[in-house]
């Protein structure tokens, strides 16, 4: 799960990291009070999950009180890369003597955590990585999952952290690394991490992605998602154990297993259709999951036909059938549904469906072709 900048900073602040004071606002009217509290100059930053906010006019420095509300209104009126700006982070501006890039990421290839540091902080870090790779320093955690002060000390010298700030920088980098590990993050990115004119280190922008699988033990982070979800439908789906991504097509897909779900979408495309979504009901199904999946697909007005493709393993076909029959009773299913069932408890499921006069295909291709044919 991706946190908003303001949520990331709240988390960083709670963990004692150096951030400028600030608060989030949902309307321009709330902003002056916040500015009174933290003092001018301030930065107003659009809270949307896309890059390039600055270039789109979503980040502005305001130096006088009279400009606060008009600027806030301007930003809240923006739509950046298709996303309307609904919230604004108001934060005290800080002067910047030098900018660094700091990140920690779960490194899939190394099966470890990698800290990434660069003296060339700012928006063009990916460019730097390509064109000047030696300006990017990487420290990968060892067999004990640790990164050591002496490793960061070398990096600090190499990336040009002023010598008198080395100890402060090492302490901060290791504290951020510990937070990454302790909070089950998969990405923690500070860009830029700045040195102010007074010689303090401040985290100016922050991006956090969490490990969804660990949220059962990270209630404090889960709260962020509830409070301000990136995509409400996807979050709701997740609560029921469904993995859902909305797309632009018109064939609604309900599949068990991510691989089969992707193969189903590939096949829908192959036969000329366009999937309306990715939806994996996951393993170990229960009837409620299936009902919620139907509800979710039906709520998408673009959907013209619904394709249910189940190959039971740990998911039992009878659970799926029971869920579908439940949905049949409670929901208004106003679009054609094509079902394919194979695998665990397939026979029981077929019997249940036959009683409702519903037939189900045995082979995936048959059901996909029928669903795609609906125009």
């Amino acid at each position: 799960m991706k946190l908003h900048e303001y949520q990331s900073k709240e988390l960083l602040g709670k963990n004692g990291m150096p951030i400028m004071p600030g608060r989030v606002a949902a309307s321009a009217a709330e902003v002056p009070e916040i500015v009174e509290e933290i003092g001018l100059p301030v930065v107003l930053k659009a809270q949307v999950h896309v890059g390039g906010r600055g270039k789109a006019g979503g980040v502005r420095v305001v130096g006088s009180m009279e400009d606060v509300v008009p600027t806030a209104e301007k930003i809240l009126g923006l739509t950046i890369k298709g996303l309307p700006v609904k919230k604004l982070l108001v934060t005290r501006a800080c002067d910047i003597a030098k900018e660094f890039y700091f990140g920690v990421i779960f490194d899939r290839e190394k099966r470890a955590c990698t800290m990434i540091l660069s003296g060339e902080g700012g928006v063009d870090i990916e460019e730097t990585a390509k064109e000047n790779p030696e300006a990017i320093l990487k420290i990968t955690s060892d067999t004990r999952g640790k990164i050591y002060d002496f490793q960061v000390r070398r990096a600090a010298a190499a990336m040009g952290v002023p010598r008198e700030l080395h100890n402060q920088f090492i302490k901060l980098a290791l504290a951020l690394y510990d937070m990454f590990v302790d909070m089950d993050l998969t990405l923690l990115e500070i860009n830029p991490l700045v040195v102010t004119d007074e010689g303090n280190l401040v985290l100016v922008d922050a991006k956090i992605i969490t490990d969804d699988n660990a949220m059962y033990r990270r209630k404090e982070i889960k709260e962020f998602e509830r409070a301000d979800p990136e995509n409400p439908d996807e979050v709701k789906a997740k609560e029921y154990g469904l993995s859902y991504v909305k797309l632009d097509g018109n064939v609604g897909c309900i599949v068990n297993g991510a691989g089969l779900a992707m193969a189903t979408m590939d096949m829908v495309k192959h036969f000329g259709g366009e999937p309306a979504n990715f939806l994996d009901i996951g393993g170990s199904s229960n009837t409620e999951k299936m009902k919620q999946a139907m509800k979710l697909i039906l709520s998408d007005k673009n959907v013209k036909s619904i394709l249910i493709n189940i190959f039971g393993g740990i998911t039992r076909c009878d659970d799926v059938a029971a869920g579908f029959i439940g949905a049949l009773r409670s929901e208004n299913i106003d679009r054609p549904v094509f079902i394919r069932l194979s695998g665990t408890n397939e026979e029981i499921a077929r019997e249940m469906l036959e009683k409702e006069n519903i037939s189900a295909d045995t082979r995936m291709e048959d059901a996909v072709k029928k669903a795609v044919a609906v125009k």
């Binding site: 779960f106 490194d107 990405l187 699988n213 660990a214 590939d266």
Partner: protein, 288 residues
């Protein structure tokens, strides 16, 4: 032959008294798997479908001689269950559980490097050596004996592939789902090597998907193999995944897409099918 499991495999089920554990206990027995015991802490002394339940893996191994463990324990407790099997040197551990946090798997991966056990999964369907032993959640009736070895990162897509191959008369030696998580105990290369050395396997099917670079690495190994490999990659038409900030781009540098996988595999001499039916045709060609 086949790989990893056969009629001598003695299975213990961790989480045997749970909904999934007890259900698949029955399915495995039905298939002919030699399930010798189960573990559920606090429920030792019971029996379920005639199989004795123990409090700890150590007790179970000592009493039954189990040499393979399959884990049906809920995600918060699954890392502990894996650790318990590794601690007791169970040679083969299969973890069905999905949803284990990456942090736990980093640590378990380290333990695997230090010890002598093999882990398959997590978040995998397990494996079957056709007609001999099934240690997993795959529906048993879809497999037929034959010369094809299947390795897959997916669960249900594996069933789809196996089922279609069976229908087409292309039976299997061993079918193994290695799991789709970022960190898994057994990778494509490990299994490709086993199939390369298995006299009964004539053709290998590798089912991959977008994300990670395991398929690209496997392609390097395939170049050295004597047996034909046919691949399938799902997610060709999937929308691009969510970006992992700049850091993700710095670390991965653009690999892991369907295109990069297909390119690597075809360059290694492994044709990549886009539909299961196409895969079946390519496999049949190579058997004959």
């Amino acid at each position: 032959m086949g790989i990893l499991i056969d009629e001598n495999t003695k299975v213990l089920i961790q989480g045997i008294t749970g909904r999934d554990g007890s259900f698949h206990l029955a399915r495995m027995i039905e298939y002919g798997t030699n399930v010798v015991g189960g573990v559920t802490p606090g429920k030792g002394g019971q029996a379920i479908d005639g199989v004795p339940v123990f409090d700890t893996v150590e007790d179970c191994v000592k009493e039954t001689g189990a040499n393979t463990s399959i884990i049906f324990v809920a995600a918060p407790f699954a890392p502990g269950a894996i650790r318990e099997s590794l601690f007791n040197d169970v040679p083969l551990v299969i973890c069905i559980t999905e949803g284990i946090p990456v942090k736990d798997m980093i640590e378990i991966n380290q333990r695997l490097r230090e010890g002598g056990s093999r882990l398959v999964g997590p978040n995998c369907p397990g494996l079957v050596t056709v007609g001999k032993s099934k240690v997993g959640i795959m529906p048993g009736h879809i497999f037929e004996p034959g010369p094809v070895g299947i390795i897959s990162r997916s669960g249900t897509l594996t069933y789809e592939v196996a089922s279609e191959l069976s229908h087409a008369g292309a039976g299997q030696t061993t079918v193994i789902g290695i799991g789709g998580d970022p960190i898994i105990g057994t990778t494509f290369i490990d299994v490709l090597e086993m199939f390369e050395n298995d006299p009964d396997t004539k053709v290998v099917v590798m089912v991959g998907e977008i994300g990670g670079t395991d398929e690209e690495r496997a392609a390097e190994y395939i170049k050295t193999m004597s047996k034909p490999v046919v691949a399938f990659i799902s997610g060709r038409t999937a929308p691009k995944g969510k970006r992992m900030g700049h850091a993700g781009a710095i670390i991965s540098g653009g690999v892991g897409t369907a295109e990069s996988k297909i390119e690597a595999l075809e360059a290694a001499g492994a044709p990549v099918a886009g539909l299961v039916s196409e895969l079946v045709d390519k496999v049949k060609e190579r058997i004959d």
